[in-house]
């Protein structure tokens, strides 16, 4: 049971990093990234490929940290000045192109069979690293969100023409947001690979992007602590489905699929009744007396 709790904590921390990363992009900046799983997958595959070539673990980790934001820039460039709808389609497409390439070119990383990755020797160590990464990601997101940078991101979210008439380049802010948040997701992917010990295309489906989106919408777009709680709720629901399957006697794959339906239901209910999330973005009140 303790082992399971530690494993659950590890997953919650890793997916919280993903939620924080999407929160910077969508919650603060309004970037609709439907390919959030892509930087995560790049990180995981970087770790896997590094291990395949007998390189030390940190080479794969650095490769993941660097490759994910570079991929982000490559994806955002064609999106350029085009509208948010295209950004959603381009990111969705990019994520799928990467996954399908890994699936269909076995020479890179084993195709559908995937490859094994050196597992972290100790579960407690894995949990510790994941929590540490989550804390760092949270601190970075807080520093961005609460400062002048985050203020400008929210202006771009609300009205990018306004940002431009104030002399700011919305594209430059989007680029920097993409670099930071994709690097975060890339590192989360590296860690995920070493925790699970196995990397295959089935781990990086559109439904995984969907999970991160549900976490952000549930927790509260624009609020870092909110999206962490959102991710925690969803991951705990997810990992507890196996107990639910045992207890109810239903087949476990049916329960697993029902889980997706429940996520969809959560998304719909949130949009209808609580669009700002469980923990809405707070109003920043500053004291102006005596000025």
């Amino acid at each position: 049971m303790i082992d399971f709790a530690i494993y659950a904590l590890t997953l919650v921390a890793i997916w919280s990093v993903m939620a924080i990363s999407l929160n910077i992009q969508f919650g603060m900046t309004g970037l609709v990234n439907f390919g959030q799983i892509l930087p995560f997958a790049i990180g995981a595959y970087a770790a896997a490929i590094g291990v395949q070539y007998d390189l030390p673990w940190w080479v794969g980790a650095v490769a993941g940290l660097v490759a994910a934001p570079i991929a982000g820039i490559l994806v955002i460039l064609p999106a350029g000045r085009s509208s948010q709808d295209y950004w959603a389609l381009i990111t969705l497409g990019a994520g799928e192109i990467f996954r399908l390439t890994m699936l269909n070119v076995p020479s890179i990383a084993g195709g559908a069979d995937g490859v094994t990755v050196s597992r972290l020797p100790d579960r407690t160590l894995a949990a510790g690293l994941a929590v540490a990464l989550c804390v760092v990601a949270y601190a970075v997101a807080q520093q961005i969100g609460n400062g002048p940078f985050g203020r400008m991101l929210r202006v771009i979210r609300e009205d990018e023409t306004l940002a431009a008439t104030l002399g700011r380049s919305p594209m430059s802010f989007r680029m920097r947001v993409t670099v930071v948040s994709w690097a975060m997701a890339g590192v989360a992917g590296v860690l995920y690979a070493h925790v699970i010990g196995y990397v295959a295309p089935t781990s990086f489906l559109v439904t995984d992007t969907f999970l991160v989106w549900t976490a952000v919408i549930l927790g509260g777009p624009g609020r870092n602590i909110g999206v962490v709680i959102g991710a925690a709720i969803l991951i705990l629901m997810s990992v507890s489905t196996r107990f639910l399957a045992e207890w109810s006697g239903l087949p476990s794959d049916l329960v697993a699929n029902l889980r997706l339906a429940v996520f969809g239901l959560i998304l719909v209910l949130m949009f209808l009744f609580r669009p700002a999330g469980l923990f809405p973005e707070t109003k920043r009140v500053q004291n102006v007396d005596g000025l």
Binding site: P148, F149, E158, T165, R168, K283
Partner: protein, 251 residues
């Protein structure tokens, strides 16, 4: 000095502006009047870098403006407001003001993380300037309200305040008085005069002829994309062509 020379632009087959020239000197208020669709807002859109004209030049202090690039034009010291006020609705009045300040170290990731002292100093300075401007506009009690919760007139005042935070040489104001109650208009007129006295050039689109006569030094009348008259407000009032095209019935 802002100089617009022989600017033309067409959208599809529609010639929105044909050879329009205009001058706005520092310390003066220039009025743009004309019927709806005469090209007033299009002219402001060109000067502020939203559209690139088919022909003609716009210069600020004898240097050409990078037309077609909004952020580059804004960075040169040209600020504008819109007919429908553009504000970050889900930020507070004060935050909207702070966003107006230029060259913020806190908007660079390096400084944000590694030079907190610099960021804090800039923030304190911007906060003091914001509060001073909000006081001038009579909006200081609303500092911590969401911008989206202000009345339409207050939003228009706030957009001017945000603009001022960037300390622009030229202000392009698109119908600042439309839909604003008379008391606030009075406040705006005072405000515009004080901005002019600070040596800024102001270009003002307005249908409120009383306001135009009150504050403008020069008025340009546009009709069907061309300037049909220019002069002092008094000269314009007596111009027969203007009366026919804009003010309606012959006097």
């Amino acid at each position: 000095m802002l100089t617009v020379s022989d600017v033309s632009i067409a959208f599809g087959g529609f010639q929105a502006l044909r050879g329009v020239s205009m001058v706005a000197r520092p310390g003066s208020i220039v009025g743009l009047v004309g019927p709806n669709g005469s090209g007033k807002s299009t002219l402001l859109n060109i000067v502020s870098g939203i559209y690139r004209p088919d022909a003609g030049k716009v210069r600020l202090n004898d240097k050409p403006l990078p037309l077609g690039r909004i952020e580059a034009v804004a960075a040169r010291g040209i600020g504008r407001t819109f007919q429908v006020p553009r504000l970050a609705q889900r930020l507070t009045v004060l935050q909207n003001m702070l966003v107006g300040a230029r060259d913020q170290p806190g908007e660079r990731l390096f400084d944000l993380f590694l030079r907190p002292g610099r960021v804090a100093a800039m923030e304190a300075d911007a906060l003091a300037r914001s509060v001073a401007i909000l006081k001038r506009l009579g909006l200081v009690e609303k500092a911590n309200d969401y911008a989206g919760n202000l009345s339409g007139g207050q939003q228009k005042l706030l957009t001017m305040g945000v603009l001022l935070m960037s300390d622009p040489q030229v202000l392009l104001l698109d119908e600042p008085a439309a839909g604003v109650n008379p008391v606030l208009i009075e406040q705006q007129v005072e405000f515009l005069r004080s901005l002019r006295d600070e040596g800024r050039a102001i270009v003002l689109i307005e249908h409120n002829m009383e306001m135009i006569s009150n504050v403008c030094d020069v008025v340009y009348v546009l009709d069907a994309g061309a300037v049909i008259a220019e002069g002092t407000p008094a000269e314009i009032r007596d111009n027969a062509e203007v009366i026919q095209s804009y003010l309606g019935q012959p006097a």
